[in-house]
């Protein structure tokens, strides 16, 4: 069967059009359906809203924003969430972070994270609010304990806490000697703030709008990006995992990413599901004195917890803003998008001896087109 790429090339030659021209074959009905499914404007409400009733609460968002930038919420007064999640770098950072017992890990972007169900590269947290507690209470990051977090919150944010959670909640938080409720309050507020970090429409979204309106294509979506989009939804098979408005299926896959060093353990989701069940702030735990709405946790209720497919599987990240957030993969194995594309082209088995990938028949111009498309996201 003739490949789509050779068809495209034939079309371009037949009509005397070069690769730099702005005309490519019209999209078929099936292709349009796929492209439409990637449009940011169809983003549903955040998944986190099912776990945190303070999503969309202005006072909680304001408190969460203050906490996010506050270095007093750290053992030595030198670390805030913003230390690693830098706004000017799409709430990520380029430097790698060495996580004890896990190895080097790239700092994921927080933009769009409230639409996710599981957090960290192995999904060991099952809500965004619970995820935010993790770094606060980890040595080598914020380095607090639940008790010192409680002290810092009450010392600096007592009135904010009252405003968001009410007098009774603050009273319960004060009486709780373990500090667990203080961690829940901090997590719920931080999560409310992070949920406001929604991706902005990209050149790709503007392009989709023109596809469906028939208006002129945007200048920032070049012809090479259109060719790259075809590869993305066809021969490249990228859309298999990078689908939906955030370009992620919110799942876990083993793509054979090489380990960076001996500490870089390729266990991934297989350990994540175990840690998730042991987490003291897991979704199924009720903290009704802080959040009176019982979390639904449906995503946890049905999740698969066993099978070889979990070994070496890491979370599929959003591709929104991907140009800004290298190095790439969970452990920063690749410095550039071109290197990432070549890894997918070759489909080598990684440190587990397996990969879900199939080798791709991409030539250099395909790789360049794919990168060109990714840079518009």
């Amino acid at each position: 069967m003739r490949s789509l790429r050779s068809f495209t090339l034939g079309y371009l030659i037949a009509f005397g059009i070069t690769a730099n021209a702005e005309v490519t074959p019209p999209w078929t009905k099936g292709e349009l359906k796929r492209i439409r499914s990637l449009w940011l404007q169809d983003l549903p409400k955040p998944a986190e809203a099912a776990n945190n009733s303070f999503i969309g609460n202005a006072a909680a968002e304001e408190l969460g924003q203050k906490l996010f930038f506050d270095k007093r919420l750290s053992r030595f007064g030198d670390t805030a969430c913003v230390t690693c999640h830098e706004p000017e770098k799409n709430f990520s950072r380029t430097a790698m972070f060495d996580v004890a017992l896990h190895g080097p890990r790239r700092v994921p972007t927080l933009v769009g994270s409230a639409w996710s169900s599981f957090f960290f590269w192995d999904g060991r947290k099952d809500s965004l609010w619970s995820q935010t507690i993790g770094p606060l209470l980890t040595q080598g990051e914020h380095g607090l304990t639940a008790k010192t977090l409680k002290t810092a919150l009450l010392l600096n944010y007592r009135e904010n806490l009252r405003q968001v959670f009410g007098d009774n909640a603050v009273h319960s938080l004060e009486k709780d000697r373990s500090g667990r409720l203080a961690a829940v309050a901090a997590g719920k507020a931080l999560s409310a703030y992070v949920a406001t970090l929604k991706p902005s429409p990209s050149a790709f979204d503007r392009y989709i709008a023109t596809v469906f309106s028939g208006s002129e294509k945007p200048d920032d979506f070049p012809a090479c990006a259109e060719v790259g989009l075809r590869i993305f939804i066809h021969d490249g098979m990228c859309i298999n995992c990078h689908n939906g408005p955030l370009l992620t299926n919110d799942s876990f896959h083993n793509t054979g990413v090489p380990s960076m060093n001996v500490t870089d353990k390729p266990i991934g989701r297989a350990r994540g599901v175990v840690l998730m069940e042991q987490d003291p702030w897991r979704c199924s735990e009720d903290f009704l004195s802080i959040d009176p709405v019982k979390p639904r946790c449906k995503h946890v209720q049905y999740v698969s917890k066993k099978g070889l497919g979990l070994v070496g599987a890491f979370k599929v990240p959003t591709l929104r803003g991907v140009k800004q957030i290298g190095p790439y993969m969970h452990n920063g194995a690749f410095k550039s998008l071109r290197e990432v594309v070549r890894h997918y082209r070759d489909a080598r088995e990684g440190p587990t001896g397996m990969t879900e990938l199939l080798p791709l028949s991409l030539i250099e111009s395909d790789e360049a087109a794919l990168v060109c498309f990714l840079e518009t996201l």
């Binding site: 298999n240 689908n243 799942s251 449906k298 049905y302 698969s304 088995e349 397996m354 199939l358």
Partner: protein, 137 residues
């Protein structure tokens, strides 16, 4: 210009064989005469009645022992995989009986586009049968 890399690993050869399987033509949502024991139909519980991609949702099942068979349904199990990829659902669906012949399957999530095969396995007082349903997402 680079050329595609040679495929050297047995896993890759296996995967290419899987990928070469032809897509199914029978996409019916009701199968009344494919097996010996039961007829089964499904309908997604979604706003548009379509099976959604990468979204947790439910199905309604109707399971009826074939006329003339003196057997009652005692257990139902549902699983799904992608025949071309050899991996399956990332969820473990749960089944509840809601009427004499009606069941709900909760916790289905098809996280990749492509060919999915959902198996509805029914155990009866006499015999058992698995009914396959193919979907193209």
């Amino acid at each position: 210009m680079s050329t595609p890399k040679a495929i050297s690993h047995p896993f890759q050869e296996l995967k290419l064989k899987l990928l070469a399987q032809p897509l199914p033509k029978d996409l019916h949502t009701a199968k009344s005469n494919s097996g010996q024991w039961v007829s089964v139909s499904y309908s997604p519980v979604t706003e548009d009645g379509e099976v959604p991609l990468a979204t947790l949702h439910s199905w309604k099942l109707e399971i009826t022992p074939i006329t003339g068979r003196n057997a009652a349904v005692t257990d139902v199990a549902v699983g799904g995989d992608m025949p071309r990829h050899k991996h399956g659902l990332t969820t473990e669906p749960q089944i509840k009986r809601v009427s004499e012949s009606g069941y709900t399957v909760q916790g289905l999530k098809f996280h990749m586009p492509g060919w999915w095969r959902v198996m509805v396995c029914v155990k009866l007082t006499e015999g058992q049968e698995c009914v396959p349903f193919d979907l193209l997402l």
